[in-house]
């Protein structure tokens, strides 16, 4: 057991206990750490955005290599600053319109491609399902599951008769799906806690490898 002598590791340990103190109750030490977290993370984003995006993508081509066409995105980007100047704050809509239009235009075909057409193809039953009894059964159950789960979210008709049976089957599949996510979320949260304890035991106290 050899306790770390690095003051920065000690700082990390203090901050870890600062956050965990919230488990006892909300207190000034926790509030300090939470506000520190907000400040450091935003400051970190500013520095990295400058060095990884603004400098290599804009400053170099426009100011160093003089490619004047880059003035357009530069001006559009500057419009974001107008948000805080009341008289011209409407100018912020120009870059927003540009980004929103571009992103929506790129997203729509891609969504159709990956989330709709490819998933329809995956749902279609093909003669391949006759290969083996369990392949056939699971394909049929998945098929029924997708249709009933989608019909559960159908709002244009009262859920009566066939639609009622379908949506009641659908909710069963949905609940199993949420149960699976629940199970995995337990593992996810535990992994984070284990990670913190590994830091305390290894880097701080040197008790484990």
């Amino acid at each position: 057991m050899h306790i770390s002598t690095n003051i920065w590791t000690w700082l990390a340990v203090i901050l870890t206990f600062g956050i965990f103190s919230f488990l006892y109750k909300d207190n000034p030490f926790y509030k300090f750490c939470e506000h520190l977290f907000v400040g450091v993370s935003v400051g970190y984003t500013i520095a990295l955005t400058w060095y990884n995006s603004v400098y290599p993508d804009l400053v170099t081509p426009l100011f160093r290599e003089g490619r004047l066409l880059y003035i357009v995105p530069f001006i559009l980007g500057l419009c974001y600053f107008c948000r805080f100047i009341p008289k011209v704050s409407w100018l912020i809509r120009l870059p927003m319109g540009f980004v929103l239009g571009w992103a929506s235009g790129v997203a729509i075909p891609a969504y159709f491609q990956t989330n709709i057409i490819k998933q329809i193809q995956g749902t279609l039953l093909t003669p391949a399902i006759f290969a083996h009894w369990d392949v056939f059964l699971w394909a049929l159950i998945s098929f029924v599951g997708v249709i009933c789960s989608v019909l559960y979210f159908f709002f244009s008709r009262e859920h009566k008769g066939v639609l009622k049976v379908a949506s009641e089957t659908g909710i069963i599949f949905l609940m199993i799906g949420f149960g699976a996510s629940f199970g995995y979320t337990v593992m996810a949260r535990m992994s984070l806690l284990i990670g913190r304890f590994q830091f305390l035991l290894r880097d701080w106290l040197g008790l484990i490898k």
């Binding site: 919230f22 909300d26 509030k31 939470e34 506000h35 907000v38 729509i108 075909p109 159709f112 491609q113 990956t114 709709i116 057409i117 490819k118 329809i120 193809q121 749902t123 279609l124 039953l125 093909t126 003669p127 006759f130 098929f143 997708v146 249709i147 989608v150 019909l151 979210f153 159908f154 709002f155 244009s156 008709r157 009262e158 859920h159 949905l174 609940m175 949420f178 149960g179 996510s181 629940f182 979320t185």
Partner: protein, 372 residues
């Protein structure tokens, strides 16, 4: 020379020659020619070499490939120039050459036919959404079924008013840009109308400053519509903090202090949903949740009495607010889902029928859904 080549061609003709076909690569930006070939099985071959000949007569070997290959894409060509290709089947010292392919020229295309299925799907769905939005804007009636969750909401508000205990309504931690937050504010208006009639306290803690101002207007408007503008208490709707977990802790404190009869958690939630739902459950209050944050739904479903799942939250707010934009896109999406179901069912039926030899051409349906 002529006899030798005559002799060679006789010799070669016993072995069928490899056949070759070259064409401009379809659906691309040009500068690329696709070459396909078949090598007859009885021909002794160790590997293949592909030769390109230009109009100027210059011949270059552009690729040497293992036996198994049946095609090659030549991307070293320039548009507008014409090329010919031939394939050599090499075994030991000699090479059997295929016929020279016809002249071919690469060019870019203006439409990628491999993506026509996406274009059709896009146009059909756009038509649906726009049709229903215009329909709703014209004021024509669009039927949306009443979500079972709304009865649960009414029941829960009734319980609080009977017991004379307050209601805590959490509009989620999202901003006004989140659809779930807008849906939650619509439902808040409905709940506020009821609490106005029965004069029971409605507490609305907020995490987003803009959502806070909108929520206060919504409740004030609802109290006015219920004919009880005087009963509206502005400080029941308040801004807490923008920090995620501090907000959760503050709302927990509120629920433990005020001992509300009913808690509403409707809107966008993240990992703090667990902290809110747990404390609420232990105070014994009836809890109604609703969110499109799929990751948080499992916790709400097990910790609350009723949960509006994903799009049910949108449907509930569209049902209550009758707002054309919400109704129109909800109906458009509904029929989009119906269309997907029809395609899946009919497509599967035809594909399964393709097992019968007579109908085997149905097998090509699956390729209609290929994406590239």
């Amino acid at each position: 020379m002529a006899i030798a080549s005559l002799f060679l061609s006789v010799l070669v003709s016993q072995w069928a020659l490899p056949s070759i076909r070259a064409q401009d690569t379809p659906n691309d930006g040009g500068k690329s020619i696709t070459i396909r070939w078949q090598v007859p099985a009885n021909l002794p071959v160790e590997n293949l070499i592909l030769e390109r000949r230009e109009k100027s007569g210059e011949v270059t070997v552009i690729a040497s490939l293992p036996l198994g290959e049946t095609g090659f894409t030549d991307e070293g060509v320039s548009d507008g120039k014409r090329y010919q290709y031939r394939l050599g089947a090499v075994s030991g010292a000699d090479t059997v050459w295929s016929e020279m392919s016809g002249w071919v020229q690469s060019s870019p295309q203006f439409f990628n036919w491999a993506r026509v299925n996406i274009l059709i799907a896009m146009l059909v769905f756009f038509a649906l959404v726009i049709y229903f939005i215009e329909h709703a804007k014209a004021g024509r009636h669009l039927f949306v079924r009443r979500i079972a969750g709304l009865d649960a909401v009414e029941e829960a508000v009734g319980r609080a008013t009977e017991m004379g205990k307050p209601i805590v309504y959490v509009p989620g931690l999202g901003s006004v840009a989140d659809i779930a937050t807008i849906a939650s504010l619509n439902i808040l208006g409905e709940v506020a109308k009821k609490t106005a009639q029965y004069d029971s306290a409605l507490l609305v803690p907020n995490r987003d400053p803009i959502v806070y101002t909108v929520a206060r207007e919504v409740v004030k408007e609802a109290y006015a519509q219920a004919g009880r503008p005087d009963a509206f208490k502005a400080d029941n709707i308040f801004f807490v903090t923008s920090e995620q977990f501090a907000y959760a802790a503050a709302v927990d404190g509120l629920m433990v202090r005020e001992k509300p009869a009913t808690n509403f958690f409707l809107g966008t939630f993240w990992a703090e949903s667990l902290i809110l739902a747990e404390t609420g459950a232990t105070t014994g209050a009836i809890q109604i949740a609703g969110t499109d944050s799929v990751f948080q739904l499992p916790f709400f479903i097990t910790a609350c009495d009723y949960t509006l799942i994903g799009e049910e939250l949108y449907a509930a707010s569209a049902y209550l607010s009758r707002e054309p934009l919400l109704l129109g896109s909800l109906k458009g999406q509904d029929f989009g889902k119906l269309l997907i179901m029809v395609i899946v069912i009919v497509g599967s039926a035809l594909l399964l029928l393709s097992k019968i030899p007579a109908l085997s051409f149905f097998q090509s349906i699956i390729s209609f859904f290929n994406v590239s």
